[in-house]
Symmetry: C2
Subunit: 303 residues, 2 copies
């Protein structure tokens, strides 16, 4: 991997208290920047920007560094790390958030280290749009900017979000977010609107139903990799983004074919994520394991 193949990610760094039908884990590693980084690290060089508290374990940072993730942008601040608690239903696609203790994340002001500023690929994890904009203002000549968001920001800070979107190339969004953002209930109409904002690439995340890529209006559908026992869906969306942007950043160019493949790799990293609690499903993966799922998914859509 050359230095030019690198991705900067900004997002949350958290402890997760998670209960699913398959068990319970307290204080495990989580947060959008963490899931994204580890998933993307299988494809590219990752540079992480985020804040954790003084309670964040040195082992966690060592784990990231072992995966060649640059942690110079990971700020440790006096106080407690962001804590998220959630419980999944028997239908594991449904979850309730039990608590969201922002802690040091509440005052997060992303500071991009100088050595990060020319990183060609940027992933703006699901944080306040004004912070996403702050990050972009510190970057120099990015090649591709991708963004994740959520209903909360669409509803409460839409003006800021629209300002960021003007600079973004690729958005990851789900059906309901697309509807809220564009006012269109219909997928095709929503896609049309969002392309009119200037976004070149839209990726509709459909969870267990896979994902749709709209490359300037031209559609590609990638099913989810069928998982026998989804154990913990936490972080699946960020792992999906990590596979997608990680793969793309390592391609010689962003072609229509590579974009399609990147959606498949996104689905694959999402599938590995959900098979285990926390980040555990993303750690001990080999190229062969990833390629074998790629072949299966390809098979699944081969007429």
């Amino acid at each position: 991997m050359s230095k030019s193949n690198s991705v900067l990610v900004v997002g949350s760094i958290a402890f997760d208290d998670v209960e699913t039908p398959f068990g319970k884990r307290n204080g495990s590693l989580g947060g959008s920047a963490i899931f994204f980084s580890i998933a993307a690290s299988h494809f590219t060089n990752v540079r992480i920007v985020g804040v954790a508290g003084s309670d964040y374990p040195q082992e966690a940072i060592a784990l990231l560094e072992k995966r060649n993730i640059d942690t110079r942008g990971l700020e440790i601040k006096e106080g407690e790390t962001f804590l998220w608690g959630g419980k999944y239903h028997e239908d594991i696609n449904i979850r309730d958030t039990l608590y969201t203790n922002l802690n040091v994340f509440a005052e997060f002001k992303p500071k991009i280290p100088d050595v990060y500023k020319t990183t060609p690929f940027i992933f703006l994890g699901n944080i306040q749009p004004s912070l996403q904009l702050d990050v972009l203002n510190q970057m120099k000549n990015p090649e591709l900017i991708a963004l994740d968001t959520m209903n909360l920001w669409i509803n409460t800070t839409k003006n800021d979000l629209m300002k960021v979107l003007k600079k973004v190339d690729l958005i990851l969004i789900n059906n309901s977010e697309l509807s809220e953002l564009t006012g269109e209930l219909n997928l095709l109409k929503g896609l049309k609107s969002i392309h009119e904002y200037g976004l070149k690439y839209v990726v509709i995340k459909k969870g267990e139903h896979g994902a749709i890529l709209s490359d300037n209006g031209s559609l590609f559908y990638a099913p989810a990799f069928p998982v026998i026992q989804p154990t913990d869906p936490t972080g699946a969306g960020d792992s999906f983004a990590g596979g997608l942007i990680g793969y793309l950043s390592a391609c010689p160019e962003i072609s229509s074919d590579e974009l399609k493949k990147s959606i498949i790799y996104g689905n694959i990293m999402g599938s590995f994520c959900v098979e285990h609690f926390s980040i555990n499903g993303l750690l001990n993966l080999t190229k062969d394991m990833i390629n074998s799922r790629y072949k299966s998914l390809q098979q699944l859509i081969t007429l």
Copy 2:
């Protein structure tokens, strides 16, 4: 189309009172046998078995016959035709059933005309399993038996349903029905169970998310054809079945490739159905219109 390319369908014949965000229609033509027949008639010879009341319009029967659908098995009984009333939400994938007046359908006893008894393909629409079994007992050497069912029968008449399933080659089912039938929440585990009942082909209907074919455990995924304005989803599942079984019955043999294609044709007929109220989207279709959607769907999954 040779005589050997023919499908017998047994199912409901109804009047539908439907309200969707796009309008309201009262007493329009509906019922599983009607949607299936018209969709399948674009591919094969259809023979319909069902019961309607003395209020059923001669024009409706003429319309079926104009599409070369054999109506000798359509029984007209003194009384009123089955009436179904439903209202769709703003999210058109959600609906409430307002009323179900079975009328003459309550006493339905399928009688298969002698000339139908050697029909090679059979589609058992979503009716009581004991009636589905009655139909099979009257048939001679069918080549392929396909069945649709619903949660009601899984919950109330599971023994009968299991008896029919032993004779069936292909089942159309959605995720929640699969879970209720097999006791497995997971798709792959549910598929494994249902193949163990002896079913060769399982088609998971996912509505707007398309469909999955499990051909003896080997999976193929076909996305739904993206529709700009779904107007009335009533009958989409039966139109899907009509496209699928209709196409398959016209193939020289049931190969793995033809099965995959049949799922695409199913999705296409479903997409035409939902674009208009009642059966209107299924009527004035040309081979070109169908083939053009086939190419688009193929494109959507071409890596």
